[in-house]
Structures are given as C-alpha cells and as structure tokens.
C-alpha cells in the first residue's frame, strides 16, 4: 500500500516535471482522458497505464517523437460522460494534438464539438462505428476496427465453429451488453446479420447500476439456452458476467467477448471455471516485445510510471500501448508531411488520415508481430483491419484463431448509410472542407 502511495506521488511529480518542461521548451500536448477511479477503473487503469508508459518511454529513450517531447496530462473522467466533456473543455485551450475519450458515451459527445474546434478524436476500436467514414467525419478516427467490424468478426467466428455462416440459420445467439451507448452500438449490425443469416438475436441488457448484480440476466440465459453468448461489457460488468456464466454452467468456449471484455483481470476473476472463455483481439499479448522491454527498463523500473510489476504485457495494457503507437506514428507521419517538428491538431489530423504502419515499421519500433499492418485513408478512418480470437487458458490469453478479416463487404455499406443518417439528423452537419493528401 505504502509502495503504491509512493509510486503515486512519484508519478504525480513526474507528470509535473513533464508539464514544467512543456513551459520551458517546444513540446506537444496530449491529454489522456482516463478513469482510475469508479466502477470502470478495473478496465480503465491498465489501458491508461499502457498509453502513458509508451509515450513516457519515447520521451526517455528518443527524446519524444522526432526529437520533440510529448507532454501528457491525465484527466480523470470516471467514465462519466459529463466529466469527460469537462476534461475536454478544460484542456482544449492548451493546444492538444488529439483526444482519446476512452468511452463511447464521451466520444459521442465530443464528435460534434471536436469537429467544430478542429481537434482530432481518436476512438481506437470504440465509439461511433459510422465515424469511419472520413468524408463525413474528417476529425474522427477509429482504427483499427469499428465495433461493427468487431461484431461481424464474432459472428464470422461463430460461423466457423458451426462449419459455415449458412449453418447459423435457426441458431440462437445471446447478446449481453452494458446498457449504455457502448453496449448498444453494435446492435444495428447484429440485427442486420441476424436477418441475413437467419439466427435469432436475444438481447440481455445490463444497467450500469446492476453490473455486479447480473443473476437475472443469466437466469434468462439459462432459460433461453442460446447456442452462443456474445458480450459487450466493460469495467465491473466483465468479471461478474464471467462468474455468472460459470455459475449457470454455460460452455465457456461458446461465450465470446468483444476486445474490451478481454482483460486479464476479467477472466482471472472466474478462476478455473473461466478456462475456455474467448475474446476478440487485434494485437499481441505478452511483454517480450523490445518496445515493452524498454518500457520496463526506462519507465517502470525507473519509477516513472503507474504500472505495477507483472502487468506489462497483459491484454488491456498492451491495448493502451497500441493506442499510443497510433498517436506516435501519426505524429511522425505529420512531421514528415509538413516538415515541422512541432505539429498542431490540424497536422495531427493529416497524420492520422495518412497513417501507415507496415510490418517493417512495426519491427523498427520494437513491436515486430505485435499487430498486422495498419493503413488509413482520407475516406476510411478505420481501415477494417484483421483481428483474431483469443482464449483464456486459465492463466493467460492465447490465440484461438488465425488473423482474419471482418465482414467489410457487409459492414461498409451499413457504415455509409449510418454516416449519412447521422449527418442528416445533426443537420446542418458541416461539409468536409479538409483536403485529402495529394489534393491540390
């Protein structure tokens, strides 16, 4: 406990020293909207740690990105939409490069604001799926996949387990979800796929205040006997759902969570019974990557981060690292495109839109094999990249499938329609005026 307090004080002092540097020299500012408190802290802490530590490591090892240090300032949202908006309003005057809301609810609130303020929003694999349409949402990015990609990936995997998507006809697929913007986001896509493939979609909403009291939802699952269960949970909802599934003896290999329901602590809470539980993922786990070793040496061992020993390499921690890699590489891209070392939000938007991380680049940054190549474009702010299914073996996540593509052919037309509908509902939605790369 005392060690934690000391680490906390040291981390605050470190953050303070970074902020002081910001005043003293050229730097770039990135606010981290994190939640280390409240019911969602169990998921929020590892992600925030991963994000923070990677940027801190770049500052220590490389002097930042392109020789310019990154100033990171955390703002506690508690996963509360109103607090998230307050964090945005409170930091937007400090010339931030980009916002990572880490909440679909906050993202939905920031989309119209950031589009007016001209600050990019990076909602990595969460948020509004339709925001992948760069023509309508030039300031919003959701690589490497949208929720709709994730949902299509889950259904594709279930199809594989059944010997083909055509065999889903007549099956029952249960969907247990946090009854909030996040959990409701993939429902249109799931309903569309249910109609197309003939399966019945059974919905089990979990109100935010009942996250740790899910026995009713799981009693319904027991009665309805769905062939598969899909989960869109976050925070305290995940370990509770896994425990309840074990309690009703639901077959764990037929219980599949989205990537945000695949934390190590989530599955660990279920003990032996959680063995076999599956979750989607789009990056590697484990701490053996050179970049993560650098984090261990330069940040964690040096007492300059918040991360506890043994947490580096866990699924949600690595997701935070992935998020910061996207930002760092977008900054580097923008620096190359503009010739500037200190870029602004507008340059960052361009960097994100032209982001490309090849396999070689993943290797150069010390993350060889961590994730497939990433490429975004003017019209496609998500990229619909490959994903895989991971499975809890009782101690850690292991791959349970090869990398595979989402059903982009199904998702893309729906995204376009949803983006157009969003613009219509929020009329007058501003026309895109930002030129694409290569436009004169």
């Amino acid at each position: 406990m005392l060690k934690k307090c000391a680490l906390g004080v040291a981390a605050i002092a470190f953050a303070g020293s970074l902020a002081a540097e910001a005043v003293a020299e050229d730097s770039m500012f990135i606010p981290l909207l994190s939640y280390r408190t409240g019911p969602f802290a169990g998921s929020g802490i590892p992600v925030a740690n991963g994000m923070y530590d990677y940027l801190a490591m770049l500052n220590e090892r490389d002097g930042g990105v392109g020789g310019v240090k990154i100033v990171v300032e955390e703002c506690e949202t508690g996963y509360d939409t109103q607090k998230g908006v307050e964090c945005y309003e409170g930091t937007k005057g400090k010339s931030p490069l980009v916002y990572n809301p880490y909440s679909t609810g906050i993202t939905l609130q920031l989309i119209p604001k950031a589009s007016v303020d001209k600050i990019p929003v990076l909602s990595m694999a969460y948020g509004l799926s339709a925001a992948a349409e760069g023509g309508v949402f030039p300031w919003v990015f959701n690589p490497p996949d949208t929720y709709w990609d994730g949902a299509s990936g889950v259904i594709k995997h279930i199809g594989d387990m059944e010997g083909g998507l055509e065999n889903l006809n007549g099956k029952k697929i249960g969907y247990i979800f946090l009854d909030a913007g996040y959990g409701r986001e993939p429902i249109p896509l799931l309903e569309e796929l249910a109609t197309e493939y003939g399966f019945e979609l059974l919905k089990y909403p979990v109100p935010g205040k009942e996250m740790q009291n899910q026995s009713s939802q799981w009693l319904n699952v027991r009665r309805d006997r769905p062939d598969y269960m899909v989960m869109w949970g976050w925070g305290a909802m995940n370990p509770t759902a896994i425990k309840e599934a074990i309690k009703i003896r639901y077959p764990m290999d037929k219980f599949i969570g989205i990537w945000w329901s695949g934390g190590d602590d989530d599955a660990r809470a279920g003990g032996e019974g959680a063995k076999g539980y599956k979750a989607m993922n789009f990056h590697g786990v484990g701490a053996e990557y050179p970049a993560l070793q650098d984090i261990q040496k330069l940040v964690v061992d040096a007492g300059k981060g918040h991360t506890e020993d043994g947490k580096i390499g866990e699924a949600l921690y690595n997701r935070g690292v992935y998020n910061s890699v996207l930002m760092a590489e977008a900054i580097r891209t923008a620096q190359e495109m503009t010739g500037k070392t200190v870029i602004d939000a507008s340059d960052m938007r361009m960097g994100l839109e032209n982001l490309e991380i090849t396999a070689e680049r993943w290797k150069e940054i010390g993350l060889e094999g961590f994730a497939p190549p990433i490429k975004l474009s003017c019209g496609d702010h998500s990229g619909h990249h490959m994903m895989y299914v991971s499975q809890w073996d009782g101690e850690k996540w292991v791959p349970a499938s090869d990398w595979f593509e989402p059903m982009t052919d199904k998702v893309q037309p729906l995204l376009q329609a949803a983006a157009a509908e969003y613009a219509e509902k929020n009329a007058p939605w501003p026309e895109r005026t930002e030129p694409c790369a290569g436009d004169s």
Partner: protein, 318 residues
C-alpha cells in the same frame, strides 16, 4: 389481446411448464434478498441508534472488503487479516464518532445526513488513494468459505445451488439473530434504543452517547465487512460495489428504517419479487426492469402500510 395474454397468462404458464427453473429463480431471489437484507441491516443499525441515515454504508462495504484483501495481499494470513479488518472498522467507528458526530449531537437530522455524505466522499478518496482503483479478487477460499456448486435433480430438471450462496444465507441468519438478541436482551441494546428515542433524555439518565454511537458504527462496520465478503465473492472487490448499497433503499422503504426483522423480510420480498418480475415480465418491455421494479414493489406496500412493514407508527400530537 396477445399483450394481455403475455402479461396475465404466459408468465404463469412458464412457471408451471418449467418448475425446476421457477425454483431456481426463487432461490436466486432468496439469495439476492439475503444480501440486500445484509446491506439494509447496516443502515438500520445506525438509524435505529442515532436517527442518522448513513449514506456512507455503501462505501463502508467497499472499505471493509478492500482492507481485508489489501491486508492479505501484504502477506497477512487470511484470518489475521480478517481480525485486523474488524479492528480497522472499530478504529473507523471511533474516528467517525470523535471527529464528526460528537460535535453534531442534537443537530437537525439533515445535518447528520450531510455529514455522512461528506464521510462517503472522504472514504472514496482515501480508499482509492490507499488501495488504488483496480479491482481485487475476494479471498473466499482462504477464509474457509465454500466454493463450487451442487446440482439437484428436481421437478424434472436441475437446480444449481452455489455453496457461497448457502454460506451467505447462513451467515446472514446468524448475524441477524445475534443482533436481535443484542438489541433486545442486553443492557447496551436497551441503552441504544433509549438514545434513538431522544438524545437529550438518554444523556440525562447517564447514557454515554459517544459509547453507544461507537458501538453501532462498529456493528454496522462488521455487517459491512460481511456484506463486502459475500458480494465480493460473487463479483470482485472494487468501488463498483458501492452502488450495490442503494439496493437497500427499497428494502428500507418496505421494511421500515428501524426494524431488523423488517430489513430481513423486506430484503426477501424485494429480492424474490424483482427476480420473478425481471424473468417473467421483464421480456415484455425488453428487460432491465429490475432496478426500478424494486421501488415499485416497495411503493405498493407503502400504499397499505405507510410506516413500512415493521416500522413504528408514530403519532405526534399537537
């Protein structure tokens, strides 16, 4: 017509067609009810002795559970950690009394309520500073509590009983019995009731208000610890547990704020009622009715007994 059938007939048809499942629903409702009753008990203890609605009861549940797993993580054996946590709850009771309520004797109830709200936020901040916000796993097995489950073949199907749920029911019954004896049969218990009736009158006959209030806060702390262990075993130990405390509100409305049997009976009615409602009538409106159904049940009871099932009917004459 179909709606009326689904509303009035179909739920009962389901109950008859799947009697084993109905039995499982009743059991789950019973277990939830017992756990709600445990939370409500913490509120009742303090309200009964001081007239204070202790808004901090929820965070006390979290604080107690986090202390237990935190001390265990520091290397203490589970039972020593349990004793140390009880001691911490004792220290908290003394600290709360000496620093807050000692100075608020005879203040209006609303001031006392506001003080407990302040205490809640202090404990949240202090707890997060000391223990961190990340969830912990409850040391269920280390405490000797049973895990696993047993399935019974009944009524043509399976009824699964979790061993931890059975333990929760047994522990709750023991605690309630002990508290009922304590309140009704001991000298301190009678003093406690005297304080609840009138602070000044109790003081005038030589009852130490400080001592009595420390005892009830300590008792509420122990109830909070038991609640935290049981809820923590079902999910995990995190600050999200605090929200669960508000499940006690409809129980208190129903059972009365001053009645220990009321907390138990109220808890069971709410627990079983909301489960049956959610499972059999919830699908009619898309599910998720549990959170507000508890209040509807409580309010329906209030129509007939405004003081709650076991609450005291107070008539003030002018």
């Amino acid at each position: 017509m179909e709606f009326l059938y689904n509303l009035l007939i179909d739920p009962f048809v389901q109950m008859v067609e799947l009697p084993d499942f109905f039995l499982q629903v009743l059991w789950e409702g019973f277990v939830s009810g017992v756990l709600y009753a445990l939370i409500a008990l913490g509120f009742v203890l303090i309200f009964k002795a001081s007239g204070v609605f202790n808004f901090a009861q929820g965070i006390m549940v979290v604080f107690a559970a986090l202390s237990l797993v935190g001390l265990y993580a520091l290397g203490m054996p589970a039972y020593i950690a349990l004793i140390a946590t009880i001691a911490i709850m004792g220290i908290l009771a003394v600290a709360v009394q000496k620093t807050i309520f000692h100075h608020l004797v005879n203040q209006p109830d609303i001031i006392l309520l506001m003080a407990t709200i302040g205490l809640t936020y202090f404990l949240i901040g202090f707890g997060e500073f000391v223990f961190g916000g990340d969830p912990k796993v409850m040391i269920t097995e280390e405490l000797g509590l049973p895990t696993g489950s047993t399935a019974f073949d009944v009524l043509g199907g399976l009824v699964i009983l979790q061993h931890i749920d059975i333990a929760a029911a047994v522990i709750a019954i023991i605690m309630v019995t002990a508290l009922a004896i304590f309140f009704n049969k001991t000298r301190i218990g009678r003093a406690l009731r005297a304080v609840a009736d009138d602070h000044q009158a109790a003081l005038s006959v030589g009852i130490s208000l400080d001592q009595i209030w420390i005892i009830v806060w300590f008792a509420a702390g122990i109830v909070a610890l038991a609640t935290g262990i049981m809820w923590g075993a079902r999910s995990d130990v995190s600050f999200a547990l605090e929200i669960i405390a508000f499940k006690a509100l409809p129980v208190l409305i129903l059972g009365g704020f001053t009645s220990i049997p009321g907390a138990i009976v109220g808890g069971l009615i709410i627990g079983i009622g909301e489960k049956i409602g959610e499972i059999y009538w919830g699908p009619l409106v898309g599910g998720g009715i549990e959170s507000w159904l508890a209040y509807v049940i409580a309010l329906i009871f209030l129509l007939f007994r405004p003081q709650g099932l076991f609450g005291e009917k107070i008539i003030e004459r002018v």
